[in-house]
């Protein structure tokens, strides 16, 4: 495994970047946001930077000013490609970086997502994961047409609680399906004419209020056994779900002290639900505008704020400054008990290139970042061993 004193850095990719006006940045490629070459280039840059993994943003609703309500803006990026498919598209072109698409657990079929992520794991040789996302809006529900959610824009409290429980069940189903084939189920036994040993396949027999799934999967056990599941968490219900169901949690602290407090909260939730197995890997999110020259980075961000007629707002900490300042910040927060950082580049590819060509070299010089990938699976990168199959007999 990696040198434990190394910092871990991942990146979150979305459209032209996390600033709504990012598509207007000088280095942006706004006409190519739906072109495969754009995503291939971003993935290559992130891998050049030796980052832990990429998350690919997605939703079952088109982007909007206010969640759950369609808007009529023409000056922001509208439109996204399916994140699982973007991850699959760049998988053969990358060799080591983790690939973690966002996927929605409300409305969709856990059977389909389970085999999709298992397949992403096969095409990437063990680098797949997914970030589970709940859909709490009536808008998304009406687009699927199968159930009502909420009377207005968002779900009511009791409903939202149900959505979290559904997400927990959804992740449980995907995990059971990943284990529904034992590793050595395929035997190709010519003597008996059996391609597989059916005793090594298991029905998962999951029954719950939102779905019942029989299994087994149609896809064999993924290379990692259990591709990691991530979640973005802001409030107690999020932490509770992450503690129950996830391997990785993204948090949004505003300072090192805040990070310390949130990590403590995460651990409290783990204890409260009696979490067994490895502790959650905690990555702190941060929106970054970064440049060799701090002033240049700050001006760039301000210029985008101007174009957008207001300063950028985010759930995460906003950083705009020099590479050295960012490196200092990461080192400072790195002592707060978190496992790593998930940087959200303010602009793409600009700030991703700054991360890869300027920030990472500085961190390497300081002896705080890898200079090559040690592990080649996402689990390995996260310090997680390949788990036993829950259905395999001792």
């Amino acid at each position: 495994m990696d040198d434990p004193s190394n910092l871990h850095v991942a990146v979150a990719l979305d459209g032209a970047g996390w600033h709504p006006a990012a598509w207007r940045d000088g280095r942006a490629r706004p006409g190519e946001l739906f072109a495969p070459r754009y995503w291939a280039d971003l993935a290559a840059e992130a891998e050049r930077a030796l980052l832990d993994f990429i998350t690919f943003e997605d939703s079952m609703a088109i982007q909007s000013e206010h969640r759950g309500i369609l808007d009529d803006r023409l000056d922001h990026v509208r439109g996204r490609l399916d994140a699982v498919l973007v991850a699959a598209r760049v998988a053969p072109l990358t060799a080591a970086i983790g690939l973690v698409p966002v996927a929605t657990t409300t409305h969709t079929e856990p059977f389909h997502l389970s085999k999709a992520v298992a397949t992403l794991d096969f095409v990437s040789s063990g680098r797949a994961g997914f970030q589970a996302r709940i859909s709490p809006t009536a808008l998304e529900a009406r687009q699927f047409g199968r159930r009502g959610i909420g009377g207005g824009g968002a779900a009511r409290d009791e409903e939202v609680g149900g959505l979290f429980d559904e997400a927990a069940d959804y992740v449980e189903v995907t995990r059971r399906l990943w284990d529904s084939w034992e590793d050595d189920a395929e035997i190709r036994d010519v003597a008996t004419g059996r391609f597989l040993d059916r005793d090594k396949l298991h029905y998962i027999d999951f029954e719950g209020p939102w779905f019942s799934v029989k299994g087994p999967s149609i896809t064999p056990r993924p290379p990692q056994g259990q591709p990691p599941v991530a979640m973005l968490a802001h409030v107690p219900a999020d932490f509770h779900l992450a503690a129950r169901s996830a391997d990785v949690v993204f948090i949004t602290p505003k300072s090192a002290e805040d990070a310390r407090a949130i990590v403590a909260e995460v651990r409290t939730h783990e204890v409260a639900i009696g979490r067994a197995g490895p502790r959650l890997r905690v990555y702190a999110d941060m929106v970054v505008f970064v440049d060799e020259d701090g002033e240049a980075a700050r001006s760039r961000k301000e210029a985008l704020d101007e174009l957008d007629s207001r300063p950028l707002r985010s759930d995460a900490h906003l950083f705009a400054g020099s590479v050295a300042e960012l490196a200092d910040l990461l080192e400072e927060w790195g002592t707060s008990g978190i496992d790593g950082f998930r940087l959200r580049p303010g602009t793409l590819p600009g700030d991703l290139e700054a991360i890869s060509r300027q920030l990472v070299p500085v961190l390497q010089q300081r002896g705080r970042f890898r200079d090559h990938y040690e592990e080649h699976t996402l689990r390995g990168r996260l310090g997680l061993r390949r788990p036993e199959n829950r259905y395999a007999h001792a």
Binding site: P36, D82, A88, P92, H107, R142, Q143, F144, G193, F195
Partner: protein
């Protein structure tokens, strides 16, 4: 040279006893490298497309998972998206069912695949409906068998509306003007029908082909009508000259009602092949392949499809069972598409045949199961393909090798060059999209397709 354009495709087989997995050359059916190899071989042979079916539930017989054939396959969408990265021109076609899915999600997945492959996506619409398969999905076996085409038709119609909800060029990306989008209506949709009541804003801009190429594979009258109305290609199962001509005539004859021309719908039967230095050599190899495909245990399983009872105690090298088939109860076969339509008649035919030719169970099953479509020298096979297309028995073929992933190499190396030399098959891709390769025009607008359905 053929008088009509020939289209060729490669099918990476999933389930079925087509694959001789015991062959030393047989590779993995799950490792990505196998898919890469077959897709790239098909691409260097200038095939129109690569095709992958879909799995929703593992097959069972007598309550136990079927273990004699290849089992285990990847998710169709995910593999096709990955293959887009290692190919450049070849179409990427996949089966996705219209029952255990919803239009909003499937439409965004296909639009995304079309973007990520720069216009090479195709959708084979199938109508899985049964409760056995449904046990893996939220609504279980909710769909009556008789309603499956109605749902598929409306599903496809809704998907077309979603794809059409974005205009070409709507992503303006005008940095100077500060306009990313042409107007705020892009993506807006409302669909109120019997099967679907949905509205909102579709989130994927118009893809290079507009709509993916649409395939249909059902053979029933409803299936053929659905294809005539809505599909671009039929993945047919009538590979012989005579059956092919009949099917071709029937289906192409249905097009005029929908304002379509014969060339608007391509008929592509599935086809298998065995090559040899001489005709006799090829025939010998073909017989050997069929012996390998129908092992003793497999023969018993096939017989059970008709007898509908446990025959595991019988010797496959011995005579047919003396017991009668069990027509009383439910089928013991689950998850398989083509189980015997009229078991009583089939059983009687088989008994007569076995008696006449003194066949064991295994020999009988080899006798009555499908022969390879094309058996011969590369030249003979090339000419047979040309003949079939010229005789209007097909517009081309979807080839399924019996060994994967290497089973297409010989065909690509020896048969395709002959077709190319004769000017019957392309030596280079002319266009960049699958629509280009198949000689299809722009997709029909959803509104137009729906209006015609009202007749």
């Amino acid at each position: 040279m053929s008088t009509r354009a020939i289209h060729l495709a490669a099918h990476f087989p999933g389930v079925n006893n087509t694959t001789v997995w015991s062959d030393p050359a047989a590779g993995s059916h799950i490792e990505f490298s196998s898919f890469v190899q077959l897709a790239r071989t098909a691409e260097r042979a200038k095939f129109d497309f690569f095709f992958l079916a879909e799995g929703l539930r593992l097959r069972e017989q007598r309550g136990r998972i079927h273990d004699l054939d290849v089992v285990g396959r990847p998710d169709t969408f995910t593999v096709l998206a990955a293959l887009a990265a290692v190919t450049e021109r070849i179409g990427l076609s996949g089966t996705i069912n219209s029952t255990f899915n919803e239009p909003y999600e499937v439409a965004r997945q296909f639009a995304s695949l079309d973007h990520l492959s720069e216009g090479r996506a195709a959708w084979n619409v199938v109508t899985s409906w049964d409760a056995f398969t449904g046990e893996n999905f939220r609504r279980g076996g909710y769909l009556a068998r008789g309603e499956r085409y109605e749902r598929a038709r409306e599903f496809l119609e809704a998907a077309r509306e979603l794809w059409d909800s974005w205009d070409e060029g709507a992503v303006v990306a005008d940095v100077g003007d500060g306009r990313f989008l042409s107007d705020a209506e892009q993506g807006s949709f409302v669909h109120r029908g019997r099967q679907f009541d949905i509205e909102g804003r579709f989130g994927v801009p118009r893809s290079p082909q507009g709509h993916p190429v649409i395939f249909q594979a059902g053979d029933s009258d409803a299936g053929r009508e659905f294809a005539a109305q809505s599909a671009d290609c039929i993945f047919s199962r009538h590979g012989t000259l005579e059956a092919g001509q009949q099917f071709f005539q029937d289906v192409k004859g249905r097009l005029a009602r929908y304002g379509r021309l014969p060339d608007d719908l391509k008929i592509l039967p599935a086809a298998t092949f065995v090559l040899g230095d001489t005709k006799a050599n090829a025939a010998e190899r073909a017989a050997e392949v069929r012996r390998q495909q129908v092992s003793g245990p497999t023969a018993i399983v096939f017989l059970e499809h008709v007898w509908n009872r446990d025959l595991s105690a019988y010797d496959p090298d011995g005579p047919l069972p003396d017991v009668e088939p069990d027509f009383s109860g439910q089928s013991i076969v689950k998850g398989r598409a083509n189980v015997a339509a009229d078991p009583a008649a089939t059983a009687a035919q088989w008994r007569a045949l076995a008696e006449e030719k003194h066949l064991s169970i295994r020999e009988l099953m080899i006798e009555v199961t499908a022969r390879q479509s094309f058996v011969g020298t590369p030249e003979q096979v090339a000419l047979a393909i040309e003949e079939a297309v010229d005789a209007e028995a097909a517009d081309g073929f979807i080839l399924v090798p019996h060994v994967t992933p290497g089973g297409l190499e010989e065909f690509a190396d020896t048969v395709v060059p002959i077709l190319q030399e004769r000017g019957s098959f392309r030596t280079e891709y002319e266009g960049t999209t699958l629509r280009d390769h198949l000689g299809l025009g722009a997709p029909r607008q959803a509104a137009l397709a729906g209006a015609l359905e009202a007749t």
